[in-house]
């Protein structure tokens, strides 16, 4: 028997059928993993750990899950978001370097191009990490997940207009952080020549 197409029906089935929960997992694991991966600074092992915890929590809360007009994906992303917030709180005092996605080569990309892109990505992720959590969330949901503002509004519990306004503020904040980082980098480079 094929699985129901609608997630809502699949969730109800998952309450009594473990295989149905497996299907729910397969439908959403990439989305949840991507969200967490970029929220934790592209750290693969942490992303895997938090993804596992997200689905374990979803399973634990499944009997109490009630359809309230919120998509199942939004429910899962909220669980992920809370786990990421706890992760940031626990790692706040440590200097957590961004993980190098050393093995990652996008299709058709030369190693030199990949290295350059990797470096740019590190700069961007460092600037992103300085933004408030909800702005980081917006960037990942909009650009990585490709979610539309209306759907992001449901996940974030805001109006669509507020999400769009936040997008503007977020990109402006990101631009500022990148400019400051670039300036700091240039000052470091200049220092040996000025004798400072």
């Amino acid at each position: 028997m094929p699985w129901p197409e609608a997630d809502e029906a699949l969730v109800e089935l998952a309450k009594v059928d473990p295989e149905a929960f497996g299907e729910l997992y397969e439908r959403h694991v990439k989305r949840v993993y991507n969200y967490i991966y970029y929220r934790v600074g592209a750290r693969r092992l942490d992303a895997e750990d938090l993804t596992a915890r997200t689905f374990m929590q979803a399973l634990a809360h499944l009997p109490r899950f009630r359809q309230q007009g919120v998509p199942v994906s939004a429910w899962l992303l909220r669980i992920a978001h809370n786990l990421v917030a706890n992760w940031h709180r626990d790692n706040r005092r440590q200097i957590v370097p961004l993980e190098e996605a050393a093995d990652r080569l996008d299709a058709g990309e030369l190693p030199a191009e990949a290295a350059e892109r990797r470096e740019e990505r590190r700069e961007l992720l460092a600037a992103l990490a300085q933004l408030p959590a909800e702005r980081q969330q917006l960037i990942v949901l909009r650009f990585v997940q490709g979610m539309r503002a209306a759907d992001i509004a449901v996940v974030m519990g805001r109006s669509e207009g507020a999400v769009k306004a936040l997008l503007h503020r977020t990109l402006a904040g990101l631009r500022k952080n990148l400019a400051e980082a670039a300036q700091a980098g240039q000052q470091q480079l200049r220092a040996p020549f000025t004798g400072r």
């Binding site: 473990p18 497996g22 991507n34 740019e120 961007l124 650009f143 997008l167 990109l171």
Partner: protein, 115 residues
């Protein structure tokens, strides 16, 4: 309000970026820098695949956990609804006592009237 308007322009631009992945021809006026940044973000933050090993291992773990939770003995209904039962018993007791008191009071009044 103006920020919502600017945000809406930017959001439309991002829709175009995400739809066809090409640099959109028409940049929203006054937002060229932010649009350029949006392109950069789109180019750099591409979706990643979880490793197949991780994905399969977690699937197996979740199936085991799901089966275990479904096989766990069901909580007896009287334990599940313990609070409601206690409240119901308390309310019932109060009503019984009140009813009895009313009957006794009426009997006494009737007896007094007869006397």
């Amino acid at each position: 309000m103006w920020e919502e308007r600017l945000g809406a322009e930017l959001d439309r631009y991002v829709d175009t970026l995400l739809a066809d992945g090409q640099w959109a021809a028409a940049l929203p006026p006054g937002l060229e820098e932010l649009a350029a940044l949006a392109r950069r973000v789109r180019w750099l933050l591409t979706p990643v695949e979880p490793s197949p090993h991780f994905r399969e291992a977690l699937h197996a773990r979740l199936l085991v956990a799901a089966k275990e939770s479904m096989l766990a003995p069901a909580v007896p209904w009287h334990t599940q609804h313990r609070r409601e039962i206690i409240i119901g018993a308390a309310v019932g007791s109060v009503l019984s006592v009140a009813g009895l008191a009313a009957v006794i009071a009426r009997l006494r009044w009737t007896t007094k009237s007869a006397a």
